[in-house]
């Protein structure tokens, strides 16, 4: 039963908030903030799929397959709460078609202090921050600065066996985390160069996304 191992909603809301703040803070430090909504959801999704590489407990192992990139509607509510409470701030908003709004987030007035406290008090937060730092660096320097629509080429989300409207399941009780399989495959193929299993696992998967994006 999936419910037995998933975090209860309240606890996972706190975890999501921590992950979001860690992600925006790392992007800020590297000069990549503000981060657009689509970019943030892609990073959070990839971090969950590749969490095992860094020994990080993923917050969620599922996402609804709908749209051009992975998006977590409930997490968006937590992101907005962080923005309204001053932990994040909205630098600007893009107005799209059909009243669609896309906010660009940066660290808010209270964010920096909370970020430091998280890192000081929690080794798990430190590992998560490292994972997110690698992802931010590997994604923004490449495809993610220009486009976030990884859906069709991501090994999990783009799996043709999962139809639009179905759930993409890459949780620990599933053997279908194709992103991890691909990252491990790349590490294995390049083992002569002694890749670092953690950071290069992330980098190689993002390098794959970058190259695959160029094909579509």
């Amino acid at each position: 039963m999936s419910g037995a191992t998933e975090s209860p909603p309240l606890a996972s809301a706190g975890m999501w908030k921590a992950w979001v703040l860690l992600c925006i803070s790392e992007a800020h430090r590297m000069g990549m903030a503000p981060v657009a909504t689509s970019q943030l959801h892609v990073i959070l999704y990839l971090a969950n799929t590749l969490a095992d590489l860094f020994g990080v407990t993923r917050v969620r192992g599922r996402v609804l397959k709908r749209g051009a990139y992975p998006f977590f509607p409930d997490v968006q509510r937590e992101i907005d709460r962080l923005a309204f409470s001053g932990v994040l701030k909205i630098e600007h908003v893009d107005f799209g078609a059909k009243n669609h709004l896309a906010a660009h987030y940066a660290v808010g007035p209270y964010g920096a202090q909370i970020f430091e406290q998280l890192l000081d008090r929690s080794p798990e937060a430190q590992r998560t921050a490292r994972l997110l730092r690698e992802l931010v660096c590997a994604c923004f320097g490449r495809f993610l600065a220009a486009r976030a629509d990884i859906g069709s080429i991501d090994a999990n989300y783009g799996d043709a066996n999962v139809l639009e409207g179905e759930v993409v399941d890459f949780s620990e009780w599933s053997t279908e985390n194709n992103n991890m399989k691909l990252a491990r495959h790349l590490i294995d193929r390049l083992r002569a160069l002694r890749p670092d299993a953690q950071r290069d696992g992330v980098r190689l998967y993002c390098d794959y996304l970058d190259k695959a994006m160029a094909l579509i």
């Binding site: 590297m30 730092r133 043709a160 390049l190």
Partner: protein, 370 residues
């Protein structure tokens, strides 16, 4: 179907052509260090600037003004304070116009740049000073054929290293590595001021091996970035190699593992104590020789082309006994053992390099003044 393809058919939506591309490009996505560290920054920006210079040479263009990158831990906070402009994709493409840019960065791509482009080294130096960045790792592309790296900043004690960017073919064999190690010794190590805590008493910094390792790593990163992965503390078998050098794609290039040892007359007193405890010559020789076994084992475990033992010798007197001790051990295991003597003063350096002729070798003793 390629081998790679056949192995990834069960990987969901993965595009096999892209998977093959990643494998074919090999090391282009691999990093020598964690994101955000100065080592990763140095490795990436050396490549970015080298590519930019190559791009200009291919178009027969000159670099109109130097390009300077400075590493900081948090470029957003510092960049905002300086009112510099965010350029998240700077360095992403070698075709970008970079001449005259002074920038601070944290990651491998992206930076904050000074709004006005600077045309000469004097104005760039002044701007770095004014921004308080004189102690930060700095890279400067000076022309289409020259890159200069200041590992500890323009104000740092460490001499800058220069990288020749010409299109002439370079073979990165073990002899070339030897020359680089010697260059590091002459430029950085032999008269180092930062490796000593108290030069008069020949007391080194608390952990001299780690300090030497960091400086040598930065030096080799600058020299080999783009051609080889230069890594620190790579786990090999049951140990950790101090530094490894692995060529990325050139079949003629050689790989090597380096074990670093330091020998010294006294242990650095711990905080709260003042008396340094002596280390005997025998202990030093044994310690240095132990590096032979380590580096030979790492080489054989990982099939490196060469194994080096680099002894940075802080002992007084430039003792031949240490040299003899490591050479004897190294010979048995085909290890390249190198001892680099660290002088504690300019006087010591001069006396060692420019000794007066010994009276015995000059024939008769000088006549007493008449």
């Amino acid at each position: 179907m390629s081998t790679a393809n056949s192995q990834v058919t069960s990987m969901g939506g993965a595009r096999l052509a892209a998977v093959d591309d990643v494998i074919a490009m090999g090391a282009s996505a691999l990093s020598v260090a964690d994101a955000g560290t100065k080592e990763a920054f140095l490795d990436a920006w050396t490549r970015n600037l080298t590519e930019h210079a190559r791009h200009l040479r291919a178009k027969s263009e000159e670099l109109a003004a130097p390009v300077v990158l400075v590493h900081v831990d948090n470029c957003a906070d510092i960049g905002s304070n300086l009112s510099w402009v965010r350029r998240p994709m700077l360095g992403g493409a070698p075709t970008d116009s970079l001449a005259g840019i002074l920038a601070i960065g944290t990651a491998e791509v992206g930076a904050f740049i000074k709004p006005d482009r600077l045309q000469d080294t004097e104005s760039i130096t002044q701007a770095i000073e004014q921004a308080g960045l004189g102690g930060r790792l700095t890279l400067a592309l000076m022309s289409t054929s020259q890159l200069i790296i200041w590992p500890h900043g323009l104000d740092g004690d460490m001499e800058p290293s220069q990288r020749d960017l010409s299109d002439a073919p370079v073979v990165m064999d073990l002899d070339a590595l030897d020359r680089n190690l010697l260059q590091f010794y002459e430029k950085v190590a032999r008269q180092s001021r930062t490796w000593w805590k108290d030069r008069d008493q020949r007391i080194t910094v608390e952990n001299p091996e780690a300090t030497v390792q960091e400086d040598l790593w930065l030096f080799l990163l600058g020299a080999y970035s783009g051609r080889a992965l230069v890594k620190c503390e790579t786990v090999i078998g049951h140990g950790r190699a101090d530094i490894t050098v692995r060529p990325i794609s050139q079949p003629m290039d050689a790989s090597a593992v380096l074990e670093l040892k330091t020998t010294r007359d006294v242990r650095t007193p711990k905080q709260g104590t003042v008396t340094p405890s002596a280390i005997s010559l025998k202990e030093n020789i044994e310690w240095a020789r132990s590096g032979v076994q380590q580096t030979a084992a790492y080489r054989d475990d990982e099939s490196f082309d060469g194994a080096y033992l680099c002894v940075y010798d802080f002992c007084a007197g430039n003792r031949q006994e240490i040299e003899d001790g490591i050479q004897e051990a190294a010979k048995a295991h085909n290890v390249r053992a190198r001892r680099y003597w660290i002088t504690a003063s300019h006087k010591e350096h001069r006396e060692d390099r420019y000794p007066f002729p010994s009276p015995n070798t000059e024939g008769s003793a000088p006549e007493a003044a008449e």
